[in-house]
Symmetry: C2
Subunit: 222 residues, 2 copies
């Protein structure tokens, strides 16, 4: 059953990292014990302290790996090599597809920010930078389109929040859905997520292009 025999000395470190990543992504820092990691990796818990001195070291390694992937994933979102809407749509779509490949990332980071914010400190700067770049990027594009009268007036920050929260919450709902309605397997979830993506895009498009004349009542541009 164990993977012990297929791994000569020093697949160990790898095995620990894999087990740790899986558990940390699922349960967060506080609810993952070094014993759980050791058990899942098929080693004694003393090994964790031999390879990585502390639990925190292991966590930071997992966090680093995932944060790099996350931050990298934002760059393709800010390309402008097509007309406004196509560009925005592929941006949403790309972001959604990234989350599809890392469905546990949103809850993982959510947990970390809430319960171990100090572990995120080293990333605060880059995150703020990235967020402000995204907002500024879209501010500019949106303002251009508004000026041309092609879309309705909207606060770009609100639009970014719309897209981000819709995409993220689609994945953050998964634990709720499976916990509350266990009869739907993960196969069902995949189907729902696909239609969710279509819906989110439809929603944003309607928001921008629907009823140009009426929708500009109370949203203010910053």
């Amino acid at each position: 059953m164990g993977t012990k025999e297929t791994r000569e000395h020093s697949g160990t470190e790898q095995a620990i990292m894999e087990a740790a990543e899986e558990l940390f992504l699922e349960n967060g820092y506080n609810l993952t014990t070094t014993t759980m990691i050791a058990k899942k990796a098929g080693v004694t818990h003393a090994m964790l302290h031999y390879y990585f001195r502390t639990k925190e070291h292991i966590f930071v390694k997992v966090l680093d790996k995932n944060m790099e992937e996350l931050l990298a994933s934002f760059y393709p979102v800010m390309r402008k090599d097509a007309p406004f809407w196509e560009s925005l749509e592929t941006g949403i779509s790309t972001h959604f597809d990234f989350l599809m490949k890392h469905p546990k990332l949103p809850t993982f980071l959510y947990d970390t920010v809430r319960f171990n914010p100090e572990l995120m400190d080293s990333y605060k700067g880059r995150i703020r930078e990235t967020v402000s770049r995204i907002v500024r990027f879209h501010c500019k594009l949106i303002q251009e389109e508004i000026d041309k009268g092609r879309i309705c007036r909207i606060d770009p920050l609100q639009l970014v929040l719309d897209i981000a929260t819709l995409n993220l919450s689609a994945f953050m709902m998964i634990p709720v859905a499976t916990g509350m309605f266990p009869e739907m397997g993960s196969g069902m979830a995949e189907e729902i997520l696909k239609s969710r993506k279509e819906e989110i895009i439809a929603l944003v498009r309607a928001r921008l292009y629907g009823r140009l004349e009426e929708t500009q009542h109370d949203t203010k541009t910053i």
Copy 2:
């Protein structure tokens, strides 16, 4: 400093419950210790076990209280005493305002469902019932409006998901925002939430009424 002197014997139970509610709502079950509750209530931790035998008992009391409020909050959402859109808009608004009064409820229940689902077991039935009633309620109304050609075709489940996730994530973002951008105090948050509510309503309205002819390409009704 303590509140001890203002409370004669047996404000204790009350004090414990209040401390417990605050801490459980903030940190969830696993990350709240009985010692923390005792300290916040200004009593020794043995008192918790004297009044409520176990930590779980205290938690269940807090959970019960909040679940009752939550479930009750869904009924006013399903009134139909006005035209379709006004009715839906006040539904969204009512739901949002409820969350405004209980801003920590979403994360609290989210944590509980993910990490202590067994504590939610007693509510599973009522939750499923409520969810399915809401979906059925809106299914009917939406189908009527679609048949009359007043709104564009849309899967009612997706619309309910849109509204629910937009409203919920507005509040679930708060810990992220304050954790990541501590310079914005809770006063700022209030402002943002107010504009968020307007934006969510605008989004849903545009989704339903914008570009009737084009939007019905790939959303399928169940």
